[in-house]
């Protein structure tokens, strides 16, 4: 299997911060709004360099979303920043009416998504956000895999005219996407080619799946690993091309089993090509306090879970 060089270790939110700062220098229409989490979202650099284009809205996320929608009228490209929980569930109706239905060019940038927010616990660990956002017509949903890809996605979505949900996280994770890689919305990255099983992952689970693929390859199992950074629009061709070859699939995500990447993939398979699918996702449960890595293990979204799921998928295929 192809070796993945670890290019460093950083949090994906910092990739967002760097991408936003670069946009501040290159795109005068980009404005940023934040609901009292500037440091957590790594928006400091943009704020420092573009104070006239930065809008601190306080702890008032509903107002922030509708302000952003209004700011598009006149040509601005607003990037909103807060935790994923407060970027989606708290403001679903504002996003639905003023952003998605009204087709406004707002970029909803959501940090601290999923269990890996860690010690703050379940009140802040949203695991339903991908589902909520992908159900909205007109919404593009992106879950980049590492620091570099989050930076690249942050920059790329400015060129896409329409609402985007960009989901990233808090923990420091290995960087493996090349710094000069081109990010294309809706175009999956095939990380390794293989013949026994397809693993389709997003976000932090991409690195976990790389680790899993190494273990599987060591046991003689050939893995095709796909980084599905765009949940919507989904790269259906990439899924079908791979699964028609491997005849079974594992989906892996830091999200609820209901409504996430796995369900999107299952829909494609149900409509086009039946094949066994195993989910690596949180099974209808809230999270709790703990370190990010402890939580991934306890809630079944760790490397070992991907390995186990792959073997099960292959067994079902061969049954």
């Amino acid at each position: 299997m192809k070796e993945f060089e670890i290019l460093g270790n950083k949090d994906t939110r910092s990739g967002f911060g760097e991408g936003l700062a670069e946009l501040g220098r290159t795109n005068e229409n980009v404005v940023a709004l934040c609901a009292d989490l500037t440091g957590s979202l790594k928006m400091d650099a943009f704020l420092k360099e573009n104070p006239e284009r930065f809008f601190q809205v306080g702890i008032a996320e509903a107002n922030m979303m509708s302000l952003a929608a209004g700011m598009t009228i006149g040509g601005k490209i607003p990037y909103t920043g807060t935790f994923a929980n407060f970027s989606t569930g708290r403001v679903y109706d504002q996003i639905r009416q003023s952003i998605a239905y009204s087709q406004k060019n707002v970029k909803i940038c959501a940090s601290h998504a999923g269990l890996t927010l860690g010690e703050d616990g379940a009140t802040h660990q949203i695991l339903e956000d991908i589902g909520m956002m992908k159900m909205l017509p007109n919404m593009t949903v992106i879950v980049p895999a590492d620091f570099n890809q989050t930076k690249q996605a942050t920059i790329a979505i400015a060129e896409h005219n329409g609402p985007v949900y960009l989901r990233f996280g808090r923990p420091v994770m290995p960087i493996f996407v090349k710094p000069d890689a081109k990010f294309e919305i809706g175009k999956a990255d095939v990380l390794t080619e293989g013949t026994d099983v397809t693993i389709i992952a997003c976000g932090h689970l991409v690195w976990k799946s790389i680790e899993a693929a190494k273990e599987l390859e060591a046991e003689g199992i050939s893995v095709e690993l796909i980084n599905m950074h765009t949940i919507k629009p989904l790269d259906i061709q990439a899924i079908l091309k791979s699964v028609q070859k491997t005849k079974c699939v594992v989906t892996a995500e830091e999200h609820m089993m209901n409504g996430g990447l796995g369900d999107s993939v299952a829909q494609v398979l149900a409509q086009n090509y039946l094949a066994p699918q195993e989910y690596v996702a949180v099974n209808d449960s809230f999270g709790e306090s703990g370190t990010p890595m402890e939580l991934m293990t306890k809630y079944g979204i760790d490397t070992a879970d991907v390995v186990k799921a792959a073997k099960k998928a292959i067994a079902r295929k061969n049954a």
Binding site: V31, E52, R53, F55, V57, G58, A60, A62, N63, M65, S66, L67, A68, A69, G70, M71, T72, I73, G74, G75, K76, P78, D93, Q94, R96, Q97, S98, Y101, S102, Q103, K104
Partner: protein, 280 residues
């Protein structure tokens, strides 16, 4: 424009409202009738805008946002009468595939609409957002928005109110349709707004009041509001109106908030309103 001329337009707008909602036996006539005079004044006298060349961005034009989107009939009628789209389109209101959706939307590309509304409480934030962009763009035009009084029970209104004054968003003129009625009854009974003027003042806004059915008083008050703009404070006008204004049996009650008149009631109502510009 002379007050009499504006009143004649408003009379036609009221006829349009009643005919639109009656034809599909749905929609919200009460608040629409109550805001007919104000919206006529805004679009035919106050705002600098270009009905023949509508753009979403509206650069160097005054903008209007209807936050209480359920009174779409009055907005659609005024937009059509002002020249944004053919008045004949009013006959498609709430019908399948119409650009004139039950609540205002942008997806069908109806000229004049820049934001969907209907789920209440969002329009003040939207208007303030548009006003911020005007400031960044060096565009000295103003942003107007209209809200129901019942709508002020939504918490987001007060988030927006706090934001605008704290950040000196002084190119917004918000108007409150203060008719005292909402679906379940009188606002005072359902959930009292308390002293509304003092609330807005406490939130740092310039507060004006006017009678929403008196053209000259509205002209004077809106002119005063425009003069107050640019002085570091947002402006709100508390506009006293009567739900169902212009139709005797619809006034004095909340019952016509979201109920359309039947054919006999329509005939009665139209008999009270002069056809001035020709029915669509």
């Amino acid at each position: 424009m002379e007050n009499l001329e504006l009143e004649k337009i408003a009379s036609q707008v009221r006829r349009d409202i009643l005919r639109m909602v009656s034809e599909v036996n749905s929609g919200h006539p009460g608040g629409s009738l109550g805001c007919a005079d104000f919206l006529t004044l805004l679009y035919f006298e106050v705002m600098n805008h270009d009905p023949k060349a509508f753009t979403m961005d509206g650069k160097n034009e005054d903008l209007f946002f209807l936050s209480n989107g359920h009174i779409s009939p009055v907005w659609y009628s005024v937009l059509a009468r002002a020249g944004y789209f053919p008045v004949a389109d009013l006959g498609t209101f709430r019908k399948l595939s119409s650009k004139l959706q039950g609540h205002p939307s942008t997806d069908k590309k109806l000229p004049g609409i820049r934001m969907a509304s209907g789920s209440l409480g969002q329009g003040l934030s939207v208007a303030i957002g548009a006003a911020l962009t005007k400031k960044i763009n060096g565009d000295n035009s103003l942003v107007y928005c209209l809200h129901g009084d019942g709508e002020l029970q939504e918490g987001q209104i007060w988030e927006a109110a706090m934001y605008a004054s704290a950040n000196k968003v002084d190119n917004v003129i918000a108007t409150i349709d203060y008719n005292g009625r909402q679906i379940d009854g009188d606002v005072e009974t359902v959930l009292s707004l308390g002293n509304l003027g003092q609330k807005w003042q406490a939130f740092g806004w310039e507060v004006l009041e006017m009678n929403g059915h008196h053209m000259q008083e509205m002209k004077n008050t809106v002119a005063k509001a425009q003069l107050l703009c640019g002085n570091g404070k947002p402006v709100v006008i508390i506009m006293k109106t009567e739900m169902g204004q212009g139709v005797d049996f619809m006034m004095g009650s909340h019952k016509w908030h979201g109920v359309a008149p039947n054919p006999e009631q329509l005939a009665n109502a139209l008999g009270q309103l002069e056809e001035t510009l020709g029915d669509y």
